[in-house]
Symmetry: C2
Subunit: 299 residues, 2 copies
């Protein structure tokens, strides 16, 4: 049996009781270690908590060497641990499809992921459109496919969750070219960088998918003891000091409920300005006012 | 301190280790018992698992009597347990805002909810638009605000998660009028009912937000030992026997990835027909084909 087990967001103890019981009985325990991190735990602390050896699975092992992970899963129990939920931002569908092909049974033990825990900022999950990703720009590579998606969401008044790039165990182009297994230090996109990159693309495209005044919520270290929310305009967030990773960003949509705003008050440095920004932003993508059909004058 | 603790989807042991440790140390433990249920647990089994008394909190206690819940939270620890995640489909923002007003600190311990665990069917969470709710129709009351939202999602090619009505501790109109505290047996919407209601509204509106042939995924008992997924057209699902609750339904959007379809194959009674339905459905809301701008003939 292959168990896909979500670890939640931050602590060793964010695993579920059922997840922990399962880890303890598995022959091999792999930890997917390239799409996210647990903020208040590491390999050593997890091993201590589980009383088991944990094997770090990098992208290569998961994507090309999945048969290594699945080798013992036919006759024994194997755990594949994923930060957040196994079907969160990164799905592991291909690993499961491969397991099915090999006749291996799969069971999932779910957990919180950023995709649902983000509701903790007070914005309602019902009001979110599609989630987008933002990668680190380089001088020559600034992929902006998120822009059209944010536009689609905002046209119908919905919030957008923007997931920020994480670079773990990446090689420089030079090391890659020379075949040297030397890895760059991990990088986690900050709120400041995300907001600046978003503004850079708006400046180029200028289609007003959002503007410097668009209200946003910065989500830092969600689910960890130092979790922080900040409600401010995109412009203000480009000068924010968001601190340690991980971060995500929400771009608000026009359909904001009063209860959402009441909740966000506590996270705005300047609640009055934030509410003004919300009102101003509601002019974008506003439905045309209702005009009654013209009727011929009677008499 | 007020702790909002997610219980996950099904088993007593779906609570996180940190959640369980917290419940054990709280003075009072309330369980929100009107918007969802744990499929493989009840009050008695939870009390046994926690070694603590659990107080069922109905809608009235949470919405009008929140000060009862918060009474001891200023000086002692109080746990408010929520099936799924505290910020999932039903948010408890007002309880938290009230706690803040009373100067009570609040901490959330997240868990999986249908809003993220739904990814287990193989459809990618990135590809979902806004989530909608479907309530039980009566002869005279058939609210259809979900219809425009599904239309909005499908226009831009996105999947829609449809959450199905749950009626717990509801009074009949007669008992309500006579002030008799007699409650109806709980009702949980089945897939068959949901699909039929959706088709009924499509027949009335006839704007082709979806059709009887639109591909869907029925999600039954998500996260429980008898979890079942069924990939079929909306028409076929109106005759499906979905069995014990809880259920949710996904209406697919036009943007379906091959990997999503490969994954769904295992859940279709007739994978070939399901794929044909997907192809047919992609004709709706299809962007107009690219036409190069006309240029004057050079000569």
């Amino acid at each position: 049996m292959l168990y896909l087990i979500g670890l939640g967001l931050s602590h060793e103890s964010d695993i579920t009781v059922r997840g922990l019981e399962t880890v303890k009985k598995c022959k091999n325990v792999f930890l997917e270690a390239y799409t996210s991190i647990l903020m208040a735990a590491d390999k050593a602390s997890l091993e201590k908590f589980y009383g088991r050896e944990v094997i770090l699975a990098d992208r290569e092992l998961v994507e090309s060497g999945s048969d290594t992970i699945l080798a013992d899963a036919k006759d024994d129990d194997v755990a594949f641990l994923v930060v957040g939920d196994p079907f969160g931002a990164t799905t592991h569908s291909d690993l499961i499809i491969r397991a099915r092909e090999l006749g291996i049974q799969v069971e999932t033990i779910h957990n919180a992921s950023v995709m649902n825990a983000v509701g903790a900022c007070g914005l309602q999950l019902y009001q979110f459109g599609q989630t987008v990703s933002l990668v680190f720009f380089t001088d020559t590579w600034k992929p902006d496919s998120f822009y059209d998606k944010i536009m689609e969401n905002r046209r119908i008044g919905l919030h957008t969750l923007v997931l920020l790039d994480i670079k773990v165990k990446e090689q420089s182009i030079e090391n890659l070219a020379r075949g040297r297994l030397v890895y760059e230090p991990p990088r986690y996109m900050s709120i400041e960088t995300a907001a600046s990159q978003l503004l850079e693309i708006e400046e180029i495209r200028n289609e007003k998918a959002y503007t410097p005044d668009t209200p946003c919520v910065a989500i830092s270290r969600l689910g960890s003891p130092s979790q922080t929310f900040k409600a401010a305009s995109l412009q203000d967030l480009s000068n924010y000091e968001s601190g340690d990773p991980l971060h995500s960003l929400i771009i608000l949509g026009r359909r904001v409920h009063d209860l959402e705003l009441d909740y966000l008050d506590a996270y705005a440095s300047d609640p009055k300005k934030f509410r003004e920004d919300v009102v101003k932003d509601q002019e974008y993508f506003k439905p045309a006012p209702y005009v009654p059909p013209e009727e011929p004058l009677s008499d």
